[in-house]
Point group: D2
Chain length 353, copies 4
């Protein structure tokens, strides 16, 4: 049997779109067929939404994307003013991004481990597997514990996930887990610095959930931190009301996709005549024919009054292949050059500024 | 252009597994190959978990399942003591099941509408589309409003989604929206009667979210209802601790799958030596190769210490085809006959009883 | 290491649709959504095409269907006059159906073998794997040899695959490999008895190819049997010309689907004003978005003038799940009761009769 | 209604991998997860097989690839000595590549046409659709007619598809349809010049089938050209025997994949102790779980003794996205620089040289 050390040797390296000028390649793809043409059109739409100075850009993340080597892309989008808010599954933000900022890594699994026949052995070694990637579960437990430490330090009241994640950024800052000191940048930290709000509508469904359950268990009947997911929805709706022109860059589907699309309806319910999302891109491998949300087309979303169909594009591709091309195209086109900074966190938390 | 009335003529009818004895058919499928054999094995595992008197059964729902004609199956599972807890997306529970209990219906869309080229017309008619199914958006707004009415009526404090959904059941009872009076049964109501807890870990991401946002907006700085998703996680973990042997029947993936699997780890964090889920079935069309949670295999979950692999089965099929066969098999085998009622809601809310 | 005998213990059993009256189940599926509704509609279209007395029915087979336990369905369709011609991959007809008629079987593979990590061991044991099914390669070599024996016995000239397959039926008859004597029925034999022509447009791409290569190698420059695939196309086009109203029941895509669809155009080229296929059903898991033939929609085929769109239905499902329901529905509805026998083989080979 | 001219305005442009140095991008993908890592590994294996001077490389093509803008890649592989033989569906070679060499083009379809709701209109305009791509059917009929002209000009005897396709190359040469004269290069022509044999094992299933059916119909009982698909199998097996070390670069599955894999077994049957394919790459979107050939893994092929598993890689991606990266990587790495030219057509047809 292999040892833990032998299995956790080769870390995932995050792709750096700044190093790869893909403009000519993506332009060529636009003249072809199938997914390459769709990808080319999606890249153009992303460029267009960045050049639209009225447009606030919301990035939606589902699926294990950080562990897959896409973290640096999201960091670059935040640091280069190419995204104004993030909606994500908790796993990407806490178990994977915050985890790496704490000093841990994801590892390349040997091809044979994908088959799953060795998962019992991994279990014994306390190694967790995500398809072809490995994680040290003992390190993940430290991440769980850290969220408890953060919860313990907060005033007892309901928090939106955004508020809690901002506290995670502040924690990294105080603990010296910053790119300047450790050489490791991350989404939580970059968003903290750039006042980009991050929402996790199912925030208990991740490493933070473990920390919060432990916190609440320990507090018993005493005052405690709670997670108000309705407050998340309320806050993000305020952004739509304040900045009616919006665009979505969605990787995967699930709760983040639905949540971000729903703010159009929520704004309407709050009495604001907000328009549909003007731009929308989704990268997914989900199959449209089961009627599930993850794969529902952006045209379908237009029947719900959520997404306009003039500038929408589904790209049926696994994200590690499509995302570097789409975001790299917009980056090298310098589509962000004239964009105003929005610093939406300040809008939600005026006292922060 | 068609009128709304013309488009909303043919309601979806929910399949009734009690009418279809599929035992011989499913037994035959076990001797074949591919998905039919997997389905046959899944049906056997479901039968086995029901016959295991120690085993608490958790049903996980993701994807638009109620609108698709599967509601009566879930009602029958609850009423026949074939499931002890439910974890679901909010849409299934509120926008679709509670919606139907309020007296509304889902409608069969004409084949041509699937293509999406008529979604602009649907938008104008205030008709929402789910792939091949239509909903009257004006009726859906009534559903949103009803959740606000419920929220307005509650004591201002943090609620788990389970507590709120139980209040939705109580509302139906008080409002006379019961099967006895309207002829329409539903998951929320049956679970209310049978003390089966329902958890929606991303509860703001549905019709209830709209109601709660409106509620919180109106309350402003006054005390208000909030949704504590950490409390959800805490409560469901208590069930695992109280009843260590568990089995999962999962339709789709997403947050419900992850949330239910994670309670094994959460129990461990709370100091309880809970075993992995002993049985696990997942029906999905998700593609394993994007590394996403929805499609991660049950073997992969075993590397995380969440699911035992002796009795696990993935069935790669769209749920409307596979679920009637799997549940119908266990029903007609009378696998539930000797099962103890668990009435887990009482465990979480002793004062209710 | 397991022995060959241990691994080849549990034979695949072919499902018998005659034993399962699925009418009520399939009728219920028509009132639901997604694949079940599509399946219900496909079953209705198959019933309708059988009741249309003008309509000749062509069955198209791609994918490993016989090894998967679907053989008896095709035998029943032939024997009950529910199909008039077959277009197939060679593997289904020779390596799997003829193979079973020679007295061999397919075996259920243990779940763990699916992962592929034991394929080296299987190789050493001379066991071939089809996903979750096993074949004794030594038996398969006997099947290859038998096709050489048949080729050696024939007059040296170009043959259509149909002619060669008919000789395979005659061989079984002469060799006493008949259902009466062995208890094993098959597609090749039933089609031989019922004068249903079978076409394999890529006939060298199967066990028969091995036999024919050996035959041609041995003959060297002497006269030899050759396979004229243009003759196949010519013959099947004659059927379309003789019987202009046609319907397609397609399982999988690939060459059989394209070949059967193309006869409309071929008839036109030969100066016959043949109409498009009036009915068309396809069962497939193929993804439409790669532009490949297997997954091209039947609507797309209508742009080519091949398939009418009034009665067409794609069913996105793995065939072992959908086919027993679709064919069982038409069988129990007795849709074939008034159909005239076509005995199309006689049309192509008048001297046979 | 749009006119034909309006719809056929924007031609597909074939991507030119020589213009895009993707080495750094693909190297970065190897350090990530999921499909990008698989793609990176596939590119390395292709480089490795080209550097192995013993290795003959067989390219397998299924799916509509030429119409999708991939033609120039295959031309470049042939002209730069990066492939030694081609196995393809007929459509790629005749209906699409030869068609373009005759002077015709494929066109970009408007996004809305994908849905299929306008296929009746396309039918009336004699425009054929391949997902998001359009073809002028009147031009396609000229392509059909040209194959008849070629058949009419040949000596009446059985031909392998390879022999016939070589005659198509000679026809282009004689008719002045050469890159020098028209500016349009193609697979058929490049392979003719470079003595790279092309096999279409289901050759009647394409535009050439229409020409040959018309030829045979006109000839009636007189001597005629026939297509001997067994001869195809015999010929390609001779290549394996002459050059035992082989590698496969497969796009899509279907008949080409199976045919090329089967030559290992055929060589064995002819008494030659040929090794398994030493290298194998497949790019596909096919789903492994239906047991079909297109999606059967390369590990599964090793149980059949067809493919060695040391250097094999499946890439689950639509080909227009993955192929430019994989082939571009090997091209820019100059992996072909030291490769010997094989000119395998001469081996099969010594008199040609």
């Amino acid at each position: 049997m292999a040892t833990k050390k032998e299995l956790l040797q080769h870390p995932i390296r995050h792709i750096d779109i700044k190093q790869h000028n893909v403009i000519a390649l993506v332009d060529a793809m636009q003249q072809m067929a199938y997914s390459s043409r769709d990808l080319g059109r999606a890249a153009s739409i992303y460029e267009r939404m960045l050049r639209d100075r009225e447009c606030g850009v919301i990035l939606c993340l589902a699926g294990s994307l950080i562990s897959a080597g896409l973290k640096q892309i999201f960091v670059d989008l935040i640091r280069n003013n190419m995204v104004d808010a993030v909606v994500s599954t908790g796993a990407n933000i806490v178990d994977q991004d915050f985890f790496e900022s704490l000093g841990f890594k994801h590892y390349i699994a040997d091809e044979l481990l994908k088959a799953g026949t060795e998962d019992g052995m991994l279990r014994e070694l306390m190694i967790d597997r995500i398809y072809d990637t490995l994680i040290d579960e003992e390190e993940l437990r430290i991440c769980d514990d850290t969220t408890k430490i953060i919860a313990d330090s907060l005033e007892a009241r309901p928090y939106s996930s955004r508020e809690f994640i901002r506290e995670m950024g502040a924690y990294l800052d105080k603990a010296g887990k910053t790119p300047e000191k450790t050489g490791v940048d991350g989404i939580v930290y970059a968003a903290y610095e750039k006042d980009v709000p991050i929402f996790c509508p199912a925030f208990s469904d991740c490493s933070a959930g473990f920390g919060l359950v432990a916190h609440q268990h320990e507090r018993g009947n005493r005052p405690k931190v709670s997670l108000d997911s309705a407050k998340d929805f309320y806050e993000i709706t305020q952004l739509k009301i304040a900045n009616p022109t919006t665009g979505l860059l969605m990787i995967g589907g699930g709760v983040p996709k639905n949540f971000a699309q729903d703010i159009v309806v929520a704004a309407d319910i709050l009495g604001s005549d907000a328009p549909m999302h003007k731009y929308a891109i989704q990268i997914t491998v989900a199959d449209v024919r089961d009627g599930a949300l993850s794969s529902s087309t952006l045209k379908e979303a237009s029947s719900w009054g959520k997404v306009d169909t003039t500038f929408e594009q589904m790209v049926y591709s696994e994200a590690t292949m499509a995302l570097p091309l789409i975001t790299g195209y917009a980056y090298h086109k310098k589509a962000y050059a004239e964009r105003p900074e929005r610093r939406w966190s300040r809008l939600l938390e005026p006292v922060t500024a």
